[in-house]
């Protein structure tokens, strides 16, 4: 039986701009928003949009991601026919290849797609925080009788030159594509989410593969080739919350924005569009007498005895007496010992921050760095981690890192 549309999720990105956070895991597996990982968003969007077949293309540090996805049950993607499949590069009779580019990753999995004989394929990216209804997107694609559609966001004109831009006519038909241009002719930024008619996608993937000069990339090769051939290409306007969390500061910002759903636009408290994740299974969190919790998100397993202001705590974080957190993103299993001061920073999983240690600082003047502490790091008592520090290794007691 054919599927109308299946999803291919590009999750191979190394996320090198997240530095210490992606040392041991791929970017889509980076924890987000108290109990999620980034990939929960596209996966939940899929299942909420009634897409039940998702291929996840992995390449860089896939261990955590593979284990996290498992059989897809948390997202209701454990299906008899379809469901979620992790697709790493593999060896073939005629040799093997890493995924050379985004287009090549899909090319190497043509046989996976053909098993489902879909009419449409949606290409998703595993590094965005966004709640999007892909079935609305498909409806648009069909209404326009398009061969290719791309989701676009209006961005402020002054920032437009940072994006890949779609120039479209009044019918939303794309006439030109500009990749990070100096003089933008449009402020419609591509979100990197595409719907293709499968026959068209397959044809262009094969042609692209045959071109030895190609970078095998959707933005650089496939889209320009479609334009050259005057294909029916349309831009689908998306106006909800969308954030590329490719950098430390954007990841921190996106986390902070959850604390203000009334203004920032991302609402995780939406019964009609739940974001699913693999749950920690810990007990309810405990806030002790004498603790202060203000404007924060706290999840299962946390034990709070200190002060937590405007912060996001993941499962099982312990904040001891006298410790102070502000504007902090603290990932699962981390322990913040008595008297430590942790501000304006991202602390990864299973970190120990010693007594009276200082991590990060509130912005002062030009100085607004987000201190980052990598997974499993031990910060000694009385140590100091400056606001621009990126800590991957243990910091001895009393030591200072800037």
């Amino acid at each position: 039986m054919a599927k109308e549309m299946i999803a291919m999720l590009l999750a191979g990105g190394q996320g090198s701009r997240l530095y210490a956070l992606t040392e041991k895991l791929a970017k889509p597996a980076v924890p987000f928003g108290g109990k999620y990982r980034i990939i929960d968003f596209p996966l939940s969007n899929c299942v909420n949009s009634e897409i039940d077949t998702v291929g996840i293309l992995t390449q860089y540090q896939p261990l955590v991601l593979n284990e996290y996805i498992g059989n897809g049950q948390p997202w209701d993607l454990d299906r008899l026919y379809g469901g979620v499949h992790v697709l790493p590069p593999y060896q073939k009779a005629s040799g093997s290849d890493w995924y050379k580019g985004t287009a090549n990753a899909i090319y190497q999995n043509i046989s996976f797609i053909e098993r489902y004989d879909p009419q449409y394929v949606i290409i998703l990216s595993g590094d965005q925080i966004c709640k999007q209804n892909y079935s609305d997107f498909l409806k648009f694609h069909k209404e326009k009788n398009a061969e290719f559609s791309v989701a676009v966001m209006e961005v402020p004109w002054e920032e437009a030159s940072r994006f890949g831009l779609m120039v479209a006519d009044e019918d939303d038909r794309i006439t030109e594509f500009q990749e990070k241009p100096k003089d933008p002719k449009s402020n419609l930024a591509s979100m990197g989410i595409y719907i293709f008619n499968w026959d068209i996608l397959k044809k262009y993937l094969e042609e692209d593969e045959a071109d030895p000069e190609s970078d095998n990339d959707f933005g650089k090769n496939i889209i320009p080739n479609l334009l050259k051939d005057n294909r029916r290409m349309y831009a689908h306007h998306f106006s909800g919350y969308w954030k590329d969390v490719g950098t430390i500061s954007s990841l921190w910002e996106a986390n902070m924005e959850i604390l203000d759903p009334e203004h920032s636009g991302i609402n995780l408290f939406d019964e009609d569009w739940k974001i699913y994740s693999r749950n920690s299974g810990m007990t309810g969190h405990k806030i002790s007498d004498g603790a202060v919790v203000e404007n924060s998100m706290i999840t299962d397993g946390c034990r709070i005895k200190g002060t937590v202001k405007h912060s996001i705590l993941f499962a099982g974080v312990k904040v001891e007496k006298g410790a102070v957190l502000e504007d902090a993103v603290v990932m699962g299993g981390t322990v913040i010992k008595a008297g430590a001061v942790v501000k304006h920073c991202i602390v990864a999983e299973n970190v120990t921050i010693g007594e009276n240690a200082v991590v990060g600082a509130m912005p002062a003047g030009e100085e607004n760095g987000v201190a980052t502490v990598g997974a499993g790091v031990v910060i000694g008592n009385n140590a100091k981690v400056g606001p621009n520090a990126m800590v991957k290794n243990n910091v001895e007691g009393g030591e200072e890192v800037w």
Partner: protein
């Protein structure tokens, strides 16, 4: 089955002691009573069993079991979706003479054919009103080493007042016993003695073949109760031994003890004692983390995911999806799933069942010795 000599199947009686908490079981049964901010009572037994490799578990439901069916579903959250074994739910078999089970014997008699077909050598039987993180493997080991015919877990404590008051002989039974070198020499039914007693937890280990025999014999004679009718008269023939449990035990004996046992978990010592063993699984709801909005105050509370707190909460247990609006005050309360306390309301010593709403500005107070219970879906 790789190791069938030590393997055991589990049997749970989810309706036992329902009469102790009539309000809470109005639309459910003992096993599905919410507990400790995100669990149901049966989660503790089920999780303890699966952690000990007991993955063939039968739940002998009697009445009011829709909420339990909904909670257990296929058993996946406890890893009980198995080709061999897994989770079985046995309601009373519907025939002309069908009656709800009166005691363990009648319930077990209903599944004798099933028991005969199974492969496990031992059977572990429990109720659900005793909340423990229990090591059944150790109890089975003790059972085998001692050569007992039947092993009963017990703890040493004073008999709860609520139990002595509320259980008259026609409502149900609890058991205490005398022992000599670990062997139970006397079983007392509904004793009223003061002081520390050997107090049965009603967890049993018995060989499957022997259980089938005992139940068969008793059932043919029209007997109903395993302890009173089967064990008690045979104490000189059967080697019935006690297995002393020293771990954390929370017993639900009446509304007051339900309230107290929840509140006791606000003490981290107790919380760790109950949860530091193996993980307790429960149904996943995929709630977002709990949000404390500007102006919220929280002191000494246990809170599950999915809550939005804007008011003042103190000394309370909040289940999943509870909303406490601005200016509301919540003290010494148990607020079950999705209950709402609207702006400016002021509540103390309440047990609010699921989906209860306290409307804006209302004041409502119980007392420590008499917490007020509000039924599901009520709007105050």
């Amino acid at each position: 089955m790789v190791n069938s000599n030590t393997s055991a199947l589990g049997i749970i009686f989810p309706n036992s002691y329902d009469t102790l908490v009539p309000d809470l079981v109005n639309v459910r049964l003992m096993a599905s009573i919410p507990f400790a901010s995100r669990y149901r009572l049966i989660d503790f037994i089920l999780s303890s069993m699966t952690h000990c490799g007991i993955d063939n578990i039968s739940v002998l439901v009697n009445n009011n079991y829709h909420s339990l069916m909904d909670h257990l579903d296929s058993g996946r959250e406890w890893d009980l979706v198995r080709k061999n074994g897994g989770l079985h739910i046995f309601p009373p078999f519907a025939e002309k003479s069908a009656k709800p089970y009166t005691g363990r014997v009648t319930a077990l008699a209903n599944i004798l054919d099933f028991l005969r077909d199974e492969k496990e050598k031992y059977v572990v039987m429990t109720d659900t009103n005793v909340v423990v993180n229990f090591d059944f493997s150790d109890m089975i080991r003790a059972h085998i080493e001692s050569g007992a015919d039947v092993t009963v877990a017990y703890n040493q404590q004073e008999l709860p007042e609520g139990l002595m008051k509320s259980l008259s002989n026609d409502q149900g039974y609890y058991y205490t016993f005398d022992m000599e070198d670990g062997r139970i020499t006397k079983i007392y039914v509904n004793a009223k003695d003061s002081g520390v007693q050997n107090f049965s937890m009603n967890f049993y280990v018995v060989e499957r073949e022997l259980l089938i025999d005992l139940v068969n014999t008793a059932f043919v004679r029209g007997q109903e109760f395993f302890e009173r009718d089967v064990l008690l008269p045979r104490l000189n023939k059967l080697n019935v031994r006690g297995y002393k449990y020293d771990g954390y035990v929370a017993r639900i004996c009446d509304m007051k003890s339900y309230f107290d046992e929840n509140m006791k978990l606000l003490d981290e010592y107790n919380l760790d004692a109950l949860f530091s063993g193996s993980q307790i699984y429960t149904k996943i709801r995929d709630d977002n983390p709990t949000r404390y909005i500007e102006g919220a105050k929280a002191r000494n509370v246990m809170v599950a995911d999915g809550c939005v707190i804007e008011g003042d909460v103190e000394d309370s247990v909040l289940f999943r999806g509870v909303k406490v609006a601005k200016g509301a005050k919540v003290k010494n309360c148990i607020l079950m799933q999705d209950s709402v306390v609207e702006a400016g309301a002021n509540i103390e010593y309440l047990i609010m069942d699921k989906n209860v709403t306290i409307t804006a500005g209302k004041e409502m107070k119980g007392t420590g010795s008499f917490p007020v219970y509000i039924d599901k879906f009520q709007v105050v």
